[in-house]
């Protein structure tokens, strides 16, 4: 049995937060093969629901809740004069409690063959009824587990050995989740060549994940981000000085772990990727002066900032297994294309109301984003988008820009482009021998762009 908490932040009074992807991640990370995930809301104004993630249907649900328990309908609970021990910040929320009664606070989901058992249209929602707030769900995973994931064990082992001032913030970040795509790519590609050493591959995969997280810690300082993976960022929780030190420590630790593996080609491949990430991060910040930028600048930055480590993860795993040079090259190109597609999908998540993240964060932080670039070029909405982005961006402006992006063709274009890149990535795999891993690499590429969080 494994017990965990899922953290998320809501941005609206009523909001359907799709937690399906997070639950799938937890099942995968825990190695649960056959069993159940028990889910419990820890709040009296957050309910749970299993239904279809279709935006208009979610609006219907909201209207239904409003109809059945209208806000401001004179609830006894809101008569503070008659209640005892009322907190100073007690909200007027009788309607939210009554709405929660119409939903459920508990759910049990089945797991078979390592996957949540959900129908084609079913998604799992945490339903915010009195937001915006920070929220958490308790989950327990129960059943038959496979042998523990080697990468998770290696990550835990490495973090156990480090001094608390650096280990605790990194542990919070690592334990908060993440898709672990880069280490999965290392592990998969390390099974392609003739030399297969699972422990060395797990060490490399864990080092790549630590490196990725180290870059996120510095990014969050630069972007002034307050939350990541539903929890306060290291800079928000510990301050800038500590965040810089933690990022440096794990940059150094990851490079040491990779050097200790003792494969010069692997070391050089990953080192070149780190350099590309850092150079692109400088370009990214510089381009904020000409926000939202253009397609060429976007691709240049994303190739370095995101795709370089995807590509290095694929190539380094294959190199570790002594795969043939043409196989390493093809996997490197697969990783590059997949990384760009992944970033495009990530940009789209910023405009999804069900992602568990505040909508429009990229707009607010003036982060390079392809939907914004396309919306700014749009004949209909472009002039207003450009005018808004040129001024200061408060809540109203961010909301309006997000609305304009949604009303334009931008998200469809980005989605099409991301899927096109995935097909191009898969094309790279056609001519090489993959020792039975082709379906997994195809599935991983497709799932990286078809997501809502």
């Amino acid at each position: 049995m494994i017990a965990k908490r899922l953290h998320f932040e809501t941005t609206h009074a009523t909001e359907f937060v799709d937690v399906t992807a997070q639950l799938r991640d937890e099942v995968r990370r825990a190695g649960l093969r056959l069993g159940r995930v028990h889910l419990q809301s820890l709040h009296t104004t957050v309910g749970l629901a299993v239904n279809e993630n279709e935006p208009l249907l979610l609006q219907d649900f909201q209207h239904l809740l409003e109809k059945l328990a209208p806000s401001g309908a004179g609830y006894e609970h809101d008569d503070f004069a008659r209640r005892i021990e009322v907190a100073l910040d007690e909200p007027v929320n009788g309607h939210a409690h009554c709405r929660q009664l119409l939903l459920t606070g508990f759910a049990t989901l089945l797991v078979e063959d390592g996957e949540l058992v959900l129908g084609r249209w079913q998604s799992v929602f945490a339903v915010e009824l009195d937001g915006p707030r920070e929220r958490e769900l308790a989950i327990q995973l129960d059943g038959e587990f496979t042998a523990p994931d080697l990468v998770e064990l290696e990550l835990a082992r490495q973090l156990q050995a480090d001094p608390d001032p650096v280990a605790l913030p990194m542990r919070r970040l690592v334990e908060a989740g993440g898709k672990r795509l880069r280490p999965r790519l290392v592990l998969l590609t390390s099974r392609i060549g003739p030399r297969q050493e699972p422990l060395r591959a797990a060490a490399l995969a864990a080092a790549v994940e630590l490196l990725h997280n180290a870059t996120l810690i510095h990014d969050d300082y630069v972007d002034e981000s307050t939350h990541r993976r539903g929890r306060p960022t290291v800079v928000a929780a510990e301050g800038a000085e500590r965040a810089i030190a933690v990022g440096d420590y794990y940059f150094a630790k990851a490079t040491r772990l990779i050097a200790e593996i003792g494969n010069r080609k692997v070391t050089s491949t990953v080192a070149a990727a780190i350099e590309a990430i850092c150079a692109s991060q400088i370009d990214d910040v510089a381009l904020r002066g000409t926000f939202p930028g253009d397609h060429d600048s976007y691709l240049r930055v994303v190739r370095g900032k995101t795709a370089a480590l995807f590509s290095a993860a694929c190539a380094s795993g294959a190199l570790l297994s002594d795969a043939k040079p043409e196989v390493v090259d093809a996997l490197s190109r697969y990783g590059d294309l997949l990384g760009v597609a992944f970033q495009m999908a990530d940009d789209m998540v910023d405009f999804s109301p069900n992602s568990g993240k505040p909508v429009g964060l990229d707009i607010r932080q003036r982060v390079l984003s392809l939907p914004l670039i396309y919306a700014a070029e749009d004949r209909e909405v472009g002039p207003e988008v450009r005018r808004l982005l040129a001024g200061s961006l408060g809540d109203a402006e961010v909301g309006r820009v997000a609305e304009l992006v949604g009303a334009s063709d931008a998200l469809r274009r980005v989605g099409d482009e991301a899927r096109g890149l995935v097909e191009a990535a898969l094309h790279e795999l056609e001519a090489i021998e993959l020792d039975g891993l082709r379906p997994t690499l195809i599935g991983l590429a497709r799932s990286a762009v078809d997501r809502v969080s």
Binding site: D162, P163, P165, V166, H218, Y221, V222, G239, A240, E241, R242, A243, I244, A245, V246, D248, Y249, F251, A252, K253, T255, R256, A259, E260, G262, R264, T267, S268, V270, A271, A272, I274, E275, I277, C278, A279, Q281, I282, V285
Partner: protein, 127 residues
């Protein structure tokens, strides 16, 4: 040879050369005389980039503004790639350990050993 190497490896970091990087580089050259002639400028430059990079980031002191942090990150990344190209596994591990020690001291608010002393030590053969 060394001038060509340095020119090539200073891309995007040219401004730092006159701002302490050249002095740091020269001070490390003496420590790398026992290494292959071809590797010497890369190793000395890697050490100098780490020293300057950590200073730019403000590690152990007040945090640097974002632009300086990113420049510092690029210095460390460039140094890491130079070491991957030119250093033995022992030297690569020693440098990474030295950076880790400095970052750990900074995170715990304790005074660590001076950067240059730690990096010069990383070139020494292990005993």
């Amino acid at each position: 040879m060394s001038v060509q190497v340095i020119d090539r490896e200073l891309e995007r970091l040219e401004g730092l050369w006159a701002d302490g990087l050249s002095d740091a580089y020269r001070s490390y050259l003496g420590a790398v005389e026992t290494f292959d002639a071809e590797a010497q400028p890369k190793l000395a430059l890697a050490a100098a980039l780490i020293e300057v990079g950590l200073r730019l980031q403000g590690l152990g002191g007040p945090a640097a503004p974002p632009a300086a942090l990113l420049m510092g990150d690029l210095c460390l990344a460039r140094a890491s790639r130079l070491l991957a190209d030119a250093a033995s596994q022992r030297v690569q591990v020693a440098f990474a350990t030295a950076i880790g020690d400095m970052a750990s001291s900074a995170a715990s608010g304790t005074l660590g050993r001076p950067v240059r002393e730690l990096l010069l030590n990383a070139f020494e053969p292990s005993r």
